[in-house]
């Protein structure tokens, strides 16, 4: 833990305004390689906005968001389009499940590998050998990941009608398809039962250890966050409060105040 770690995502004085509302205010923090970082804050604190800035859904923020590639080069994410974020090695899940309801689970996971494919629409039309082989390769990979997530037996079922816990898992599986270096999870434990949350905890550890993926997550389930994260960053009204180990964060007076209100 004490060895100096390589950064993977770095926010530097990021500010995001919607009209007169400052959703993120001068926020800076860093995620290191192979680290699990939690971002917490009361409702409306601007957590999802931070994610949307990092993945370039909003590109009119002020400040700098940098991503460090495997070779150690830093990339200014602002110079990338939203569709160019995935090829860099960042993938994300969504707060409200964003899956294709009328596709099978396997096909949904395959969408995650979209930019990894090399064949284009002409090869697909004529179903050339290359297109078929490529499809097979990625199907095998998708099945492997579904097995890892423990839902391989459901792969041919439609997404529509699956329970919430399964949907969350499919989203994570889809995010893992592209071999990312950083996964951004937006409320992965929301709506899960206690048992499912425990399972998710183990999964997140395994994702980090077996696939060497760093994880940045938003979560309201404090038990989950405090158990799982190496470091936690607390924000309120878009402003940075503190970033520290879970234990220290729990004791931080300003964090307590943000959640519980000040003593009158």
């Amino acid at each position: 833990m004490n060895s100096p770690k390589k950064p993977i995502l770095e926010l530097n004085k990021v500010t995001m305004r919607f009209g007169g509302l400052v959703a993120v205010d001068n926020l800076s923090f860093t995620v290191h390689e192979k680290e699990i970082v939690g971002l917490i804050g009361p409702n409306g604190a601007g957590k999802t906005t931070v994610f949307n800035c990092a993945t370039q859904f909003y590109d009119d923020y002020e400040g700098d968001i940098r991503f460090y590639t495997e070779a150690g080069d830093s990339v200014d994410l602002r110079s990338k389009k939203v569709t160019e974020i995935a090829p860099l090695g960042i993938s994300r899940t969504f707060q409200n499940i964003e899956l294709v309801q009328d596709l099978s689970i396997l096909d949904n996971v395959l969408i995650g590998a979209h930019y990894k494919f090399e064949t284009g629409v002409f090869r697909h039309i004529f179903k050339t050998k290359k297109a078929r082989d490529e499809e097979q390769v990625w199907k095998a990979r998708a099945e492997e990941i579904l097995k890892f997530m423990n839902i391989a037996h459901l792969k041919h079922f439609y997404v529509a009608g699956q329970p919430y816990g399964i949907l969350k898992k499919i989203e994570i599986a889809r995010a893992m398809m592209m071999n990312p270096r950083l996964i951004i999870l937006d409320e992965p434990a929301a709506g899960l039962t206690d048992y499912e949350t425990d399972e998710l905890e183990k999964l997140v550890y395994r994702i980090r250890d077996e696939y060497n993926i760093s994880i940045l997550l938003i979560e309201h389930d404090m038990g989950f966050v405090m158990n799982i994260c190496d470091r936690v960053c607390a924000i309120n009204f878009g402003k940075y409060i503190a970033m520290d180990t879970p234990k220290n964060i729990q004791e931080h007076p300003e964090v307590k105040e943000a959640y519980l209100g000040s003593e009158a």
Binding site: T55, F57, V82, T83, E84, I85, A86, P87, S91, R92, F94, E98, L99, V100, Q101, D102, L103, D107, L110, I111, G112, H114, Y115, F117, T119, G120, V121, H124, I125, F126, K127, A131, E135, R174, M178
Partner: protein
């Protein structure tokens, strides 16, 4: 007897497995069945009358155009009301290139397809700015502009362009009005069967192409783009690229439908490409089943063949009223498309089987 049943069953299972391994085979078999049906009038088979033959032609033309709309609407979540306009581009384009410029048929068809692909690209670019009802209105006017051009620009020959006989591959000249001489029966039918066959082949090829697109990365990208734009983008799917692909493929298929019209009727009218036709084709897609290839064919049968073949003799000229009622009834009972009749029949068959087995078992129990 029982043994024979068993071996039939294993053969059937093997056949089903083969179809599962090579899905395009089902379209080829379907096309083969249609090709055999088309021989009906020559042998005087009652259910396949000449009228049926004619209706099947239109159904096939509609199916090809409707498959493009299905790709656009069912998978891509986009809409175009310019289908009929592009069918007109197909029929009239081939007509002009063949009669005015004297080009061979294949070159004329290719050129027409390229032109409509370019127009599709333009609509695709337009669709980046608008969506939903505004896209519908925009494409509505594209179709209307095309229709106005057809009827008012003199090069399109006023009412129609007569193409006359078409030579395929530089060797086979087919004139639809010439008697069909050297066929087995020697009956005085016309050469139209060959044209019917060509249309069948084109439709089957279109079905396979659409199937291949849909079951590939491109098809998944269409679905992701229409169901959840955010997720699609964060997976690296470029919305611009796939919208353009969807529009280009859809307009080219509509044009192919028009070219098929020109092949079979060997003339191209200028007045036929109205909004009603576009709406009928969208109706065929919705009634038949969004996201289903056979469903699209079935939808065309329900919207065109049934009213023209069975409702016309029953109700005469007020048949369009009953066409409307038919569509409403279908949508009431099968909101996801008539193609789900098959699923229902399967369920019914399963229930029946169970009941029969149950009866047998109870009988057995009583005996023992």
């Amino acid at each position: 007897m029982k043994k024979c049943m068993e071996c039939m069953k294993t053969r059937w299972n093997r056949f089903v497995a083969l179809l599962k391994r090579h899905p395009p085979l089902q379209y080829v078999i379907f096309g083969g069945m249609l090709a055999i049906m088309g021989l009906g009038p020559y042998f005087g088979i009652i259910p396949v009358s000449t009228a049926m033959f004619g209706a099947l032609i239109t159904v096939m033309i509609w199916t090809v155009a409707a498959l493009g709309i299905n790709l656009l609407l069912g998978y891509g979540g986009l809409i175009s009301l310019a289908t009929a306009g592009f069918m007109g581009v197909g029929a009239l384009g081939v007509g002009i290139f063949m009669t005015e410029y004297g080009w061979p048929f294949e070159l004329a068809a290719l050129m027409t397809l390229l032109i409509s692909g370019a127009l599709g690209l333009l609509i695709g670019i337009f669709s980046l700015k608008v969506s939903g009802i505004y896209l519908a209105i925009g494409t509505l006017f594209v179709g209307e502009i095309l229709r106005r051009i057809f009827t008012n620009v003199p090069i399109f020959g006023g009412e129609r362009i007569n193409i006359g006989e078409i030579t395929f591959l530089g060797r086979f000249t087919i004139d639809r009005n010439l008697p069909f001489q050297d066929f087995a029966t020697g009956a005085s039918q016309y050469e139209r069967y060959w044209l019917y066959l060509i249309l069948t082949v084109l439709m089957v090829l279109t079905m396979i192409v659409v199937h291949n697109i849909v079951k590939s990365r491109t098809g998944r990208a269409f679905m992701a783009m229409s169901r959840s734009e955010n997720a699609a983008q964060s997976m690296g799917i470029s919305i611009i690229k796939y919208r353009l692909i969807a529009f280009i493929v859809a307009t080219m298929l509509a044009t192919l439908g028009g070219i098929m019209y020109a092949i079979y009727f060997q003339n191209a009218p200028t007045e036929a490409w109205t909004l009603i036709l576009s709406l009928m084709i969208i109706g065929a897609v919705v009634v038949g089943g969004l996201k289903s290839i056979f469903g699209t064919f079935l939808g065309a049968v329900i919207i065109h063949l049934v009213p023209n073949l069975y409702l016309r003799p029953l109700f005469g000229d007020v048949r369009s009223l009953f066409t409307g009622v038919l569509i409403i009834v279908v949508i009431l009972f099968y909101p996801r498309g008539v193609v789900f009749v098959v699923t229902d029949l399967k369920k019914l068959w399963g229930k029946l089987k169970k009941r029969l087995q149950g009866r047998k078992e109870t009988a057995h129990d009583e005996q023992s």
